[in-house]
Symmetry: C2
Subunit: 242 residues, 2 copies
Amino acid sequence: MTTRKDIHNSDIPVLCQSCEARHGGVCAALDNHQLQALSKASWKRKVEPGTELVGDAEAVGSYSNVLSGVVKLTKGLSDGRQQIVGLQFAPDFLGRPFKVESRLGAEATTDVTLCSFPKAAVERMMKESPGLEHRLLQQTLAELDDARDWMVTLGRKTAGEKVASFLLLIARNIDPASPPPAEKTTFDLPLTRADIADFLGLTIETVSRQLTKLRADGVITIENNRHVIVESLERLELRCGD
Amino acid sequence: MTTRKDIHNSDIPVLCQSCEARHGGVCAALDNHQLQALSKASWKRKVEPGTELVGDAEAVGSYSNVLSGVVKLTKGLSDGRQQIVGLQFAPDFLGRPFKVESRLGAEATTDVTLCSFPKAAVERMMKESPGLEHRLLQQTLAELDDARDWMVTLGRKTAGEKVASFLLLIARNIDPASPPPAEKTTFDLPLTRADIADFLGLTIETVSRQLTKLRADGVITIENNRHVIVESLERLELRCGD
DNA sequence: TCGGCGCTTTGATGTCGATCAACTTTGACG
DNA sequence: CGTCAAAGTTGATCGACATCAAAGCGCCGA
């Protein structure tokens, strides 16, 4: 293990020292001692876009923290229609506690760094430390709020409003380190047009047309299909409908 | 208070004795002692359809359990468009822990019985008893699963599939006492056509037409606009698309 | 440098659900 | 009962987004 031997207050496992999840994520609920215990059983990994992290009806043996990149959560209908039901950014927690089966697909849409723990270790720690469960409840409540916001987008917004809402969501979440930008910003789209369509309940053609319109109206600029420059966040917000 | 004086194992507050929430709900996580403490500060109330329980951006001073009836959770866009983002049946917990403001409207759609507690009492009890927080996490995770299921319905299903999915949802949840029915069943719609439309992201006309079609195809019968007889749950399921 | 392949854009046409406009049913109250 | 308002149904038309089809445009390997 890559930790120092002496018991000391600043004795944070090397693995965790520069970790996003130790601040905003669930690990923030753990003290150094617990962090040590968990880090012994945990491992870091890097995966490429398109890597399936959890199959649709698959038993999951581990939980993870997203340390960088974006993970899409998907649900499918029997005839192949798909809906993305959530995006996980760093330092989000990935996994469905208290359930063996997942009902959800999870797939990296960009390069993703993960820190994974065995299910059992997390669940044991949750029993011992109410703080961890509290933290998890907080994140789950936040995800529920997000999901409900998105239900409004899916159910009641026009195609134009949907695409604007999507861009705003990305602009506000893509960079885990800095707070949401205020006026002008720039980022790489973490999703293909097909993924954006599956997230918004649209087709790729409609997504493309709406992006073109935003570009024509001078709200955004797009370079190389992926890189977006938001000229005016304020004007983008106006197009979200809410 | 309406409790007996002697400390005894079967010493359950009268208020709680015949209560749904003591079994499936959050109160199931409390021992008799805690139940007593909480019931001292809690009160039961009956409200009529249309009663606003929580305003859209209102500070909430209490949590509640739904003991009977149906509550709709709504979100609105600035121009008046509305989306119902969830339905709460007995014995669901109503309220958003750890947040003063709600961002959500809550309104009774049928006659509703509630058991309400002051926010502070619940939060104090949550600190003392990890079981309660655990229970709340469980319900929140279940609600998140439901919300994500509904995102698929909103984003990817046709009008016909949406209406069928709605009827199935009601059939499975309207009666808190019995388990989901298997073949034939009957219930009163807890929502008006306008509410159904807001739940499904459709218009009332489209909802009406789809109900008419289900009736014409012999899948359901409707009496007095509200009472639904599902002739074949199996055939209804086939029309949900998943 | 050149194909070739995947992703994206753009255009023409089609369709499902929205909108607009009667009309009917239900239920509350005299 | 008869009246009235609210809720629901039905029909005609419209429009937003889907579908079908054909280019563009990187980007990679030979």
